[in-house]
Every structure is written in structure tokens, then in C-alpha cells.
């Protein structure tokens, strides 16, 4: 917890993610709403999500963290970001 940037509130994280999704999908997403119900998440969209999360919140999403469940909802992504930024167990 030495880095001051780790003090990013969940609401701010979710707001950033929500804005990104709205721009990409032209839809608004509730925090718990499943992005992937249609079963047609393009590899491009998945990749964009991962790259967006990594670059916006300065985290690296790797190995088992690269799971669809971590990106399924706005809330899931904010939990992942919070955990990775606090240096929590990513393994």
C-alpha cells in the first residue's frame, strides 16, 4: 500500500469501466449485468477489455486471472482491479 494510486475507490473504477463499455457497445450496463450472455464475445472485444483494464488501472492480468468470470460484469472487473492493485494474491 505504498503507492498512492492504489487508493482508487470502487465507484470510480466502475464508472471508468462503465464509460468504456457504453462507448464500445452503445449500451449501458448495470454493475452485475452479464456482458457475455449472447455467447458471442468476439476475441477482439475480449482483448480490448483486457487491454483497457490493464492500461487504465496499471495492472497486469495474467494466467488464471485471464478468465471470463473476471470480466463478466462491471463488478467482477472492479474486484479484479482492486485485488491486483492492492498486490493481493493473483495466483
Amino acid at each position: 500500500m505504498t503507492d498512492s494510486t492504489t487508493e482508487l475507490p470502487v465507484a470510480a473504477i466502475e464508472q471508468r469501466i462503465g464509460a468504456f463499455l457504453a462507448a464500445k457497445t452503445k449500451l449501458t450496463w448495470e454493475p452485475e449485468e452479464d456482458l457475455f450472455t449472447s455467447g458471442a464475445v468476439s476475441s477482439l472485444f475480449a482483448m480490448e477489455l483486457v487491454v483497457f483494464v490493464e492500461s487504465t488501472f496499471q495492472v497486469a492480468v495474467e494466467g488464471p486471472d485471464l478468465a471470463m468470470d473476471n470480466f463478466r460484469t462491471v463488478r467482477a472487473m472492479s474486484s479484479l482491479v482492486t485485488r491486483l492493485r492492492s498486490g493481493g494474491d493473483g495466483a
Binding site: S43, L44, P64, L66, A67, M68
Partner: protein
């Protein structure tokens, strides 16, 4: 194809005194020489795209091209009053072709000089050479693939599709549904192998191992009982996308190992890779086998890693992997498959259960 003279992928025609005899504005009526018409049609059949850069009134010149029955062979006509180098550059950009693969033909030395000055990589030909182009090596691809013969139609469909996408106001997924996408997966036929080999060369972002399988290697696997070579093609209401993917699978009684999965960049935004992985997962679940997938990180293929991970593949160990020996530096990802619903955005027609039986829709 040597470094110095790559095959020409697009020829840009001047119109007046080049594609047709005479000057449209002055003569009012122009005709096309039979020899030149033959060149246009044969280049089209060889998969060489043809564009136009002409100083004329657009509507008038295009109407004449239509009357002459040549408009349909043309992609990206640039008929106007700007510099031709600018037209050629824009054509290359729109096609996403290197300038080294473009050629320009014009009767006027000044026009050729203008293009050559600004775009030194573009090969320029005088109009009197038009009838002899077919004999030149740079206009003679060594192999004419199935898709080459319909390449022009595929590009034309692609431009129409892009236009619709730009106009579309709703969500991306709704746009995809509106396309009427259909994916066909089938055992590779002999004549498709060249195109498939080309795909593994061209799709570095969407190749899970970065390994290139040669024409001969793929052909030898066609008749191998332990392997399946599957070709994926797509169409939609705008026309065919052609062969857009290849899957190479090694089969054992306990598992199928995906040794190669490559999809064309052209269909990435349609979710083609994700749909393929879901279909494979469903097919494996029905067949009662596990799935394994070779993955080797390159500096370009992270998208494939994300695709596999999002499909549920992990690095967990499983006994089913024992019989596989991936090359040094390649990991074998693993998935215990469960039945999957078909995607909402496209119709998938695939062999049942895997390359064995007749093709049936995935339900």
C-alpha cells in the same frame, strides 16, 4: 516470388487512351479493345484487383464503364481531378496493401512520372503495354487459390459491409445479427489447402502457436487417421468471406488436441474465433473427450491467449495430456468440455460429430 518483384495485388487503370481508346470528354464515345478487355477479365480471374484513377467527370465515366460491362470488375474507382499519386495512395490504404504490391498503368508519361515521384514503390506501365501484362511474371501468381477467383467480389462485399457498419446506430451485436452470418466448418478438401496454408502465414495475431504449417505438411495430414484438418468459411448477406479459418486437430481416444487454430483478421470483429472454440467445446463434450490446445506466446498473439482463457482453458494438469508431446516452449492448455449453446449472432453448420458425418446446423 522474389523480394524485388512481389506479385501485383492491385492494378490501377487510367481510363482515357489506356483502358479505352479515345478521350471520353472530347470523343463522346469510347470503345475498349478486345485484347484489353481480355486482360481485365483474366487478371480478375487470377485474383488481381483492379482499380481506376482517371481525370474525368465521375458519373459520366462510371456510366460508360457500366455500358461497357467493365464496372463490375473495378474496386475503388477514383475518378476526379486530383493528383493520381493521391488516388493510388488512397487505394492502397483502403485495401491495406503495401505500395510494393500496386501497379499503375497510364498512357501519359507525365502521369506516370507524378506517381513514380511520390510513390517510388508503385510499378508504372505505359498504356501500350496493356495487352502484354498477362505474360509478365508479376501479374502471374504461381498458384490461383479458390478464393483468388472471387477475391474482387469479397472486397466489394467488404466495402458495402463497412459502409453499413458505419451507418449503423445500434449495438454491435445487433449489427452482427442483421448481417445474417453463416459459418461452415468442414473437412479440408485438397484444393482448399493452398488457401489454408496462406492463412497460417498471414494471420500472425490469431495464430495460437506462431507455427506455420506448409502446404505439404497439411496435405499429408489430410489422409492421417489421427488428424483432422478443418476449414472454416463464412458468408453473410453481402456475400462470401471465403475461407477464414483453419483448425488442425490430433485425436486420441481421450482427448482432441488443437495443434493449430488460425482465423483471418477479416472476421475477428465478428467473433469467429470465439464461436469456433465454443463449437469445438460442444463437439468434444458430445464425443466425450477432453480438449487440449497448443499455445506458444509470440509478441503478436495475446489475443489468442485471451480467447482460450475466456473459453475456459487452463494450465491444469490432466492424464489425458500424457500422450501429447508439444514442441519445446509450447504449453498444452486444457479444458474439460461441457455442452454449449449455439451463438446468437450466426448460424453454424458443421460436421457431426467431427468431420465424420454429414454437415448439420449446430443446435
Amino acid at each position: 516470388m522474389s523480394e524485388a518483384q512481389p506479385i501485383v495485388k492491385c492494378l490501377v487503370w487510367d481510363l482515357d487512351n489506356t483502358l479505352w481508346k479515345g478521350t471520353l470528354v472530347e470523343d463522346g464515345h469510347v470503345e475498349v479493345d478486345d485484347a484489353v478487355r481480355k486482360v481485365v477479365m483474366e487478371l480478375d480471374a487470377r485474383g488481381v484487383l483492379q482499380a481506376v484513377a482517371s481525370r474525368n467527370d465521375h458519373d459520366e465515366a462510371w456510366a460508360r464503364l457500366e455500358e461497357l460491362g467493365l464496372a463490375e470488375y473495378v474496386v475503388l474507382p477514383h475518378i476526379g481531378w486530383g493528383p493520381k499519386s493521391e488516388s493510388v495512395r488512397r487505394i492502397a490504404e483502403r485495401l491495406n496493401f503495401s505500395l510494393r504490391t500496386l501497379a499503375f498503368i497510364d498512357d501519359l508519361p507525365t502521369e506516370r512520372a507524378e506517381v513514380a515521384y511520390h510513390l517510388p514503390d508503385v510499378r508504372c506501365y505505359p498504356a501500350e503495354q496493356a495487352a502484354t501484362l498477362l505474360g509478365l511474371p508479376e501479374f502471374s501468381p504461381p498458384v490461383v487459390t479458390v478464393d483468388a477467383r472471387r477475391r474482387r467480389r469479397m472486397y466489394q462485399a467488404g466495402f458495402e459491409r463497412d459502409q453499413e457498419r458505419e451507418k449503423y446506430q445500434g449495438a454491435d451485436e445487433d449489427f452482427l445479427r442483421s448481417l445474417g452470418l453463416e459459418m461452415r466448418i468442414g473437412k479440408a478438401r485438397d484444393e482448399e489447402i493452398t488457401r489454408v496454408e496462406e492463412l497460417t502465414l498471414r494471420t500472425s495475431q490469431m495464430n495460437a502457436t506462431g507455427v506455420h504449417y506448409s502446404d505439404a505438411a497439411l496435405r499429408s495430414l489430410l489422409s492421417d487417421a489421427d488428424h483432422e484438418v478443418l476449414v472454416v468459411s463464412m458468408t453473410d448477406r453481402f456475400g462470401p468471406h471465403g475461407a477464414v479459418g483453419v483448425i488442425l486437430i490430433e485425436k486420441t481416444p481421450r482427448a482432441w488436441r488443437i495443434k493449430l487454430l488460425a482465423t483471418s483478421c477479416r472476421v475477428v470483429s465478428f467473433g469467429a474465433g470465439a464461436v469456433l472454440l465454443r463449437w469445438l467445446t460442444d463437439a468434444a463434450a458430445r464425443a466425450g473427450v477432453h480438449l487440449a490446445a497448443d499455445f506458444r506466446r509470440t509478441d503478436r498473439n495475446r489475443m489468442m491467449e485471451v480467447a482460450y482463457r475466456f473459453a475456459g482453458f487452463t494450465t491444469a494438469r490432466c492424464d489425458c495430456l500424457a500422450s501429447f508431446s508439444p514442441p519445446e516452449g509450447t504449453e498444452c492448455l486444457h479444458l474439460e468440455p461441457v455442452r454449449q449453446d449455439p451463438p446468437a449472432t450466426m448460424r453454424v453448420i458443421a460436421p457431426e460429430p467431427l468431420a465424420g458425418g454429414p454437415r448439420t446446423p449446430w443446435r
